[in-house]
Amino acid sequence: MELIVALGLIVFKVALLIAMLLLLPLPLTWLERKIAGHMQQRMGPMRVGWHGLLQPVADGIKLLTKEDHIPAEADRFLFKLAPILALAPPFVVFVAIPFGETVSVLGNEISLYVSNMNVALLFVFAVIGLEVYGVIFGGWAANSKYAVLGSLRTCAQMISYEIPMGFAVIGVVMLAQSMSLLDIVRAQADVWNIVYQPVGFFVFFVAGLAEAQRIPFDLAEAEGDLGAGFHTEYSGIRFAFFMVSEYVIMLLVSVLSVILFFGGWNGVLIPLPPLLWFALKVAFFVYVFMWFRFTFPRYRYDQLMAIGWKVLLPLSMANIIITGIVFS
């Protein structure tokens, strides 16, 4: 009986998580377009629903009913596989992400995470690394020059930025003496990691921007020179998969920034429910992502590589050494 309840709880949590992650891109696209509009003194979507609130729904219906086109020369199997490969890893990662300690529902303590792995951080980076397969396969299978160029760029970009990203969080792991995300947040109860690890955060966030393929590092889908990059040839629901995965990764990088550097659900000054604190911080980072997108131009490809290898990597290594000396 115990087992069945525990199992049921996990299934319920996973289902809730998937539903949440699948639905969150809808308001996020609306928000992105609104923010884009207002930063350019426009209004953004206004016609569907109150202030265009139903616009994402309309877009979703449009995407679902569009022709699902596969180019004649494409590798059909890989072409169909790629969106799923791109969509799955960001969802899997969220299994290891805690959203808080516990909440009590009807007198029962329910933990706000699916699993508390002791190597959660490692798991996150390992699974996020798989994301690149969806991009490679998508670009390769479409058999189009834009898609191939886009996916080549993305591979190089993702692989080179994963390295500084991985090094940047080592400082956090050293401070918390644990790789469990839960322990990392608990270790920040008094002082957030951003105080001790400003350089680490900087490297992590910049690498995160590249990882999520957002401006200024969105070379994978540089509209100006590559059509739409690796998903040039995709349409309809398969395109929506790529879109959803992109938004979930953006969310993931925001969540990781909050957990690793901004104290997770620990609040300051104002006593709010921990979950609300967490959501507010994540929302702030999502906003920062969009803010960046509509402020900065795109880096050139060689600049991107130079930043990754010549600036971020040495910075993150220096950060590890200094952290080691100061906090040992």
Binding site: H38, M39, Q40, Q41, R47, W291, T295
Partner: protein, 188 residues
């Protein structure tokens, strides 16, 4: 010395991302400034100035008689050759247009016809909403031209409006002026 100082200052600024943060501050400022979008045709509509050259209209004199004397000067001067005038003599012996057609699909709204007219009979008014699915509908005859709206009295403002897909875009507001659109533009 001061030059070197300046350059050092620039480098220090770059090291602390002063250029990037300036850009972020600018976009944040714009984010919370007023939008300049005119919500045409859902909610608002632009009232043109009185000098605006929109759809042509033909004028009548005090007796309600059409002013045009069918001299065909407008047809001659028109660079697009889009006016066609056929004169006739009415019962009082005046020369009047039996047929007066403007092909607004070809017209470039230069206003030369208005300048050329010796009888002050034709002018370009304030109407600008006359799109059509067929170019044949854009050939406007004499009787239609007589009913088209004239020059705007005030203009230069945005007034509330409502889209009526059956007819036209209708201006609903009673206010003659509306707000000045230029006032919303943020200048830095």
């Amino acid at each position: 010395m001061s030059r070197a100082w300046d350059r050092t200052g620039t480098w220090i600024g770059w090291a602390f991302f002063s250029d990037l943060s300036n850009a972020l501050a600018l976009t944040l400022g714009y984010m919370f400034s007023r939008t300049v979008t005119m919500q045409y045709p859902d909610k608002e509509k632009w009232l043109p100035y009185s000098r605006y050259r929109g759809h042509h209209f033909l004028k009548r004199d005090e007796e309600g008689e059409i002013k045009c004397v069918a001299c065909e000067l407008c047809a001659r001067i028109c660079p697009c050759d889009c006016i066609e005038v056929v004169p006739y003599e009415d019962e009082r012996g005046n020369r009047r247009p039996a047929k007066f057609e403007i092909d607004t699909a070809r017209c470039l709204f230069c206003g030369l016809c208005e300048d050329a007219c010796p009888a002050d009979a034709i002018a370009l008014g304030q109407q600008y909403e006359f799109s059509s699915f067929s170019s044949r509908d854009l050939v406007i005859g004499r009787d239609d031209l007589l009913t088209k709206p004239g020059k705007a009295a005030t203009g230069g403002g945005v007034v509330a409006a409502r889209l009526d897909t059956k007819k036209d875009v209708l201006v609903e507001a009673s206010e003659p002026q509306g707000y000045n659109w230029w006032r919303n533009i943020r200048r830095t």
